[in-house]
Amino acid sequence: MNRLPHIWCPGCGNGIVMKAIAQAIDKQGLDQNKTVIVSGIGCSSRASGYMDFDTLHTAHGRAIPFATGIKLANPELNVIVITGDGDCTAIGGNHFIHGARRNVDLTVVLFNNNIYGMTGGQASPLTPLGKKATTAPYGSVDRAFDACELAKAAGATYVARSTAYHVNQMVDLIAEGIANKGFSFVETMTPCPISYGRRNKLGDAAAMLKGMSQQAVPLIAYEKMSEEQREGKIPTGVLHKSQFPEYCSEYAQVICMAGEGEV
């Protein structure tokens, strides 16, 4: 309580996602003393400071390599990464794809508010085409990433998406990501009424949440939709699962081989 008031604006969805992470940790019964939260820089990344674990608020874009170091140094720790859309897919894009490629046992939760909130509303790689930002006053001409497709293509072994409207689903998806032994990626859509919604006439926080409820379509239903029907819709739920050896387990075998002089 001595950390209140928090830094987030009225109507921000970050608190919803942060609570979902805490509930997912609880659901999986993780040891509070063996769980580390690592974040980058941005509005979302301030969540680490409000959570009662070993928490690390790193530099812009660098949460995943810091988290990789923690996990490799002590594989018994549960390591969860909190990152934003700019943090993860712009300045941290290289670390994101290589994190997925390596398949270190991390759970990365992307808080996607479609904008750089902390710096006042600049376009991010997840700002949808045509949407306005302070650095795209005429509407963004940059195509947005689909962060889940990117994670999947790069080798993540668990990929899911939820929204701040679908809180129970979000808790379940993050919990499943924690349970996956490998690089898990969960995109959570979270409203930023102040720096994104206002400029794009998306209404207040409640209206933005309602918008998310209408955009989100479970993957099974989404797959059955035509191209026209998919317009403005976003698939949610578990989007991808695959099997690949986890990095720390593989490196443990390297240590065994080296110990036996098999170089």
């Binding site: 950390r3 509070q32 003393n33 063996k34 580390v36 690592v38 680490s48 400071g49 009662d52 674990f53 070993d54 928490t55 690390l56 608020h57 790193t58 530099a59 660098r62 390599p65 810091f66 988290a67 990789t68 170091g69 923690i70 996990k71 490799l72 140094a73 002590n74 018994e76 720790l77 290289n94 670390h95 290589h98 490196y251 390297v254 240590i255 081989m257 080296a258 110990g259 002089g261 170089v263």
Partner: protein, 382 residues
């Protein structure tokens, strides 16, 4: 360990780090430092440690800072371009007080420059490369054997002061092979990871400074649960925008190093009893400088030499002393003239300070040093 071996400077540096307890290396390949990563890739798993090749230079330092927080002694190695890329996170290590050693095997720059040519061009970058006010420890060996010793010292200082420490190798020392006899493990002093201090009945304060002004935060995963950030923070680790706190923390970060300056600042003195001219040199250049000083002595010139192992914090006490004793100070460096600016600042006009810069990708010859000493000798005799 006590047998004579033919060894490269980069390899000796890696061996020194291992001897001091480094068990985690993360990095990215770059000439002329790559042998350090290659050596670590083979040696670390055999010791139960971890090597990881990262996707870029920034990830190379991020991963070691993470590993350090989780309890490992850590090393990364790079060269000029990579050193530039790592600078932001070197600053992160300063303010978050994370022990880590960064080796920079310098090459000719700026930018891609001359990737395989020797240089001492990163002296000022080591000190001021990251943004904002911060202290820095940087060491520069002049022999293969000393590359081992400097690596041990660097790891110990990083742990003792909870700060990043930089090893400035130059390509000459990094790639040179010499016969070395390394110390036995029992002959090496290793500074252990500082232990967390908990006061009964008080909330845990990981960043509360001890008597030496250095805090002793717990390793992650040991049950103390605290926050680490690159923002200015109070003793609990939680961010604060308080003006007085910002001032006090900045001051403490400097003071924890400067209070121990005599412990950190190492140098050698040669032929100094009656020296009227003093050559101040470091790294690979000091080897040629020594040969030049010896040759000039044989010609009857009253010349001495101070060889700096510690570049930062700057060895101001010895420079002040020689400025009072000598007529002139000659500073040969494989750059456009960097550390000479510090020598000038400290000499403060008491002795004439002359820069002997070399930036044509070639190393100094002893003849060049002798000629410069003789010119200077003639000038001060006037």
């Amino acid at each position: 360990m006590s047998e004579a071996r033919l060894m490269q400077g980069n390899e000796a540096c890696a061996e020194g780090a291992l001897a001091a307890g480094v068990r985690f290396f993360g990095g990215y390949p770059i000439t002329p430092s790559t042998e350090i990563a290659e050596h670590m890739a083979g040696a670390l798993p055999a010791l139960g440690g971890t090597f990881i090749q990262m996707e870029d230079e920034i990830a190379g330092i991020a991963v070691v800072l993470g590993a350090a927080l989780a309890g490992k002694k850590v090393l990364t190695a790079t060269s000029g371009p990579g050193f530039s890329l790592k600078q932001e996170l070197i600053g992160y290590g300063c303010i978050a007080e994370i022990p880590a050693v960064i080796v920079n095997v310098q090459r000719t720059g700026p930018s891609t420059g001359q990737p395989t040519s020797p240089s001492q061009g990163d002296i000022m970058q080591a000190r001021w490369g990251t943004h904002g006010d911060h202290p820095m420890i940087a060491l520069s060996p002049w022999t293969v054997r000393e590359s081992f010793d400097v690596a041990v010292k660097a790891v110990n200082y990083a742990e003792r002061f909870r700060t990043p420490v930089i090893i400035l190798l130059d390509e000459v020392v990094g790639h040179m092979r010499e016969r070395v006899v390394l110390p036995r493990p029992e002959e090496i002093d290793v500074y252990p990871r500082r232990k967390p201090v908990v006061t009964e009945g008080e909330p845990y304060k990981p960043f509360k400074p001890m008597d030496d002004l250095v805090p002793s935060p717990a390793d992650f995963g040991t049950g103390h649960r605290y926050h680490v950030t690159g923002l200015f923070h109070d003793e609990t680790g939680f961010p604060s925008g308080n003006a007085k706190l910002t001032k006090d923390v900045t001051h403490r970060l400097h003071e924890k190093i400067m209070r121990a300056q005599d412990e950190i600042t190492h140098y050698d003195e040669f032929f100094m009893e009656d020296a009227e001219i003093v050559v101040v040199a470091y790294g690979g250049t000091a080897r040629t400088a020594y040969a030049g000083v010896e040759a000039a002595r044989k010609k009857g010139v009253k010349v001495g030499m101070v060889r700096l192992m510690t570049i930062w914090p700057f060895a101001d006490k010895i420079i002040k002393k020689i400025a009072a004793q000598a007529k002139a100070i000659l500073v040969p460096e494989m750059n456009y003239g960097q550390l000479v600016l510090e020598v000038e600042r400290v000499a403060a006009g008491q002795a004439k300070v002359v820069s002997l810069p070399k930036y044509d990708t070639e190393i100094f010859t002893p003849q060049e040093i002798v000629a410069a000493i003789e010119d200077l000798n003639a000038e001060v005799a006037k």
